[in-house]
Structures are given as C-alpha cells and as structure tokens.
C-alpha cells in the first residue's frame, strides 16, 4: 500500500493546493461575510444589545421600585410607631388626669366630710352648750323657785329687810350712774 505522500504525479494528492479552490473559497467567503454582516449579524447583534439594555433597565427600575417600596414601608412604619406613641401618651395623660381628678375628688370629699364632721361637732357643741345653758337657767330657775319657797318660809324679817335694802342700794347705785 502506498503512502499518500508517495503517490504518483498523476493521481491527486491529499496535500494538493488547487488554485481554483482558493479562488472560489475567497470569492464565496467574502460574499458570505458581507451578506451576513449586513443582513444577519448587524440586526441580530443590535437586537441582542437592545434586549440586554432593556433587561438592565428593567432590573434597575425594579430595584428602584423596591427601594421606593422599602422607603414607603419605613415611612409608614415610622408613622404607625409615632401614632402608637401618641396614643400611649394620650392614654397615659388621660390616666394621669383621671388619677388627679380622682385624688382631687377624694380630697374634696375628705375635706368636706371633715368639715361636715367639724360642723356637726360644732353644732353638737353648740347644742350641748345651749342645752347646758337652758339646763342651767332651768336649774337656776328651779333653784330660785325652790330657794324662793325656802326663803319665803325661813327668811326672817330682819334679814328680809336687809336684802331688800341691799337691792335697793344696788338699784339706786345703778340709777345714779
């Protein structure tokens, strides 16, 4: 079996370089290159780029929207917290106020009752005094009456006149003044 390189001149060789083939390859390749460049690669590459830009833009937009949404949530959360705090404050203020009011009412009632008690005590004292005075005058009256009765029977003439005299003296002294 002959090696390919040792073939006779007449038979075609594997390593033959045929000028015709080179010529036609050049022509074909150049035509293919220019047609494809103009009608295939340009539109395809352009639309690929457009799509990549579109995807990039969309991602950017989505990111921006996400950030915005996060901001909004943050703001609304802040607002909620603020409102909560306010409500808490209002509640605590109300509680404080009610506490105060309660205390005041309690104090007031306490004072009033105290006053009432004191008044009552005064009244009682007064009544007592009145009663005592009435009693005293009554007692004095009774005593005088009883004394009168005793004196009417036991007073002698002499003493009687003396007392009258004294009385008259006192009276006259009073008149003289």
């Amino acid at each position: 079996m002959n090696l390919i390189f040792l073939n006779e001149q007449s038979s075609p060789n594997l390593l033959d370089v045929n000028f015709g083939v080179i010529f036609w390859t050049t022509v074909t390749f150049i035509i293919v290159l220019f047609i494809l460049k103009k009608f295939a690669w340009k539109p395809i590459l352009k639309s690929l780029e457009n799509r990549e830009d579109f995807i990039r833009d969309s991602l950017d937009k989505a990111n921006k929207a996400k950030e915005e949404a996060e901001n909004l949530t943050k703001i609304s959360n802040d607002r909620i917290r603020q409102v909560e705090n306010e409500a808490k404050e209002i509640l605590s203020q109300g509680r404080e106020y009610s506490e105060k009011v309660k205390k005041q009412i309690l104090d007031d009632t306490k004072n009033e009752t105290k006053k009432m008690i004191e008044d009552a005590k005064d009244e009682i004292e007064k009544m007592k005094e009145d009663a005592f005075n009435t009693l005293k005058s009554q007692i004095a009256l009774i005593a005088i009456e009883s004394a009168e009765k005793v004196i009417q029977e036991k007073l002698d003439k002499e003493k009687h006149t003396q007392i009258i005299n004294n009385y008259i003296d006192n009276m006259s002294g009073k008149f003289n003044e």
Binding site: I4, G20, T26, W41
Partner: protein
Amino acid sequence: MYSFSTSVNDTIQNASPSQSDWIFHHILDSRELSLQPITTIQLPEISLFGLDISITKHVVYLWIVAVFLIITLILSARKYNKTLIPKGFSNLIEIIIVFIRDEIVKPTVGEKYKKYLPYLLTVFFFIISCNIIGLLPYGSTPTGNLAVTATLAIFSFFAIQISGILQHGIVGYFKGLAPKGINPLLLIIIIPIEILSLFTKPFALAIRLFANMTAGHIALMVLLSIIFLFKKFLFAEIAVIPMSIAFSIFIDLLEILVALIQAYIFTMLTSLFIGLAIHQEH
C-alpha cells in the same frame, strides 16, 4: 452502496498499487459530483486569465454552505424584527452568537470586540457548516481540502495584521512585534523569529483544521472498508460487520464533536491572535 462495494471489490481483486484510492476518492477533491447510484455530474471547467478556476466538488459544497448560511441566518435575523425574544431556531443561533461574543471574542480581543465580531462569527458558522456537511450523506467536507483551510487562514492572517495596524499604525505595529528593552544583539535572532511567527500562526490554523477533518474521514472510511476487505471470507465478514458499523458510528459521533471543536478552535485562535496584535504590550 452497491456500486460502492463493487468498486471496492474491483480494487481489491485487481490488487493495484494504490488500494486506498477509493478512500481518497471520497476525501479528495474532484471534477465530478458523485451522486451514485443515481448519476455523476461532471462539473464545468472554467479558466480565468489562463488560470484554472474550474468548479470542483468542494467548491460546490462551499456554495451549498454559503447559500444555507445566508438563508438560515437572514431568516433568523428577520425574526428579531417582530419580537425581542424569538423562539426556536433563532434561539439556537442566538446561543452560539452569544457564546462566541461573550466567551471567545470579548475576553480575547477586549474593548474593540465589536469591530471583529462579524468576521469571527462568519468564520465560525462557515467552518462549522463545512465540517458538518461532510458528515451528511453524499456530503463532502470542504474544510478537508487544504486550499480551503489555507484560504480561511489567509483571511485570518490579514485580519490579525490589519487589527494590529489599525491599533498601532504600520510602523508602531511592526516595531511592537519585538519586545522592548532587549539587548540589540538578541534582536538579530528575535526579529526573524517574530516575522516567522506571523506566518506560522495562520499556517498552523490551516493545517490543524485540514488534518482534523481529513483524519476523521479517513478513519471512518477505513473502518467501513474492513467489511469489504473481509468479503472473501463469508463468516468472518458477518462477524466483522457489527463491529465495523459500531466503530464507524462511534467515529461519526466523534466527528461531530471534532467538527464543533475545530470550528471553535479556529475562531478562538483567530480571535486570540487579533487580541494579541491589539494588545502588544502583553
């Protein structure tokens, strides 16, 4: 398949000095388009200014590839007019385009990748289609022809030089080929090496693609030919057929992989060399 086997049989019986001729008949270029068992088309001979520019089998397949690429790619490009996200075949094309752009051209060429992207995309699609068309029935691999790969490599050579010259200017580019701050005596060695390397790069591109495509096809043909070599021995042939077919299926699948890899490597290395010409400082 019948004529195929008889022709093999003939060659074996005649025991001519080149028994492997029928294998090379399928790999080498020829002036006729074999559509056996239906017909064989004789291709026209053309000459231009005394130069032979006859149309050959590989040229016909190049044109088939060119027409296929132009139609499919323009059709898939049209779909982008209607919608920003096309489906189906355009999606497959898009995956390849995005892969070449983001994984090959952007990292190697750098900022100015847009200028070289159409060329590199065309190279990739052209080579991969040429590689694949050889695996189809009646197909032949244009990239299994050294003239085709050499032409593609010449395009790469010009692309590399032009990218460097556009970036640094003619004088700046060729000055930049030699590393800076080096002993002037060493330049005597380095300058020829650098000039040589300008040509070895595309040369390696051409040979790599050609050799890979040809080798796979030879392996495929040889594995199939085992069946016909054993034709004289009936039972041996029956035993050999499943093995032969299994191995050729394996090689065929391997060829698909090689077709993809070689197209990728050609594009990647061209892109890399363009990048190296643009960023000379590295």
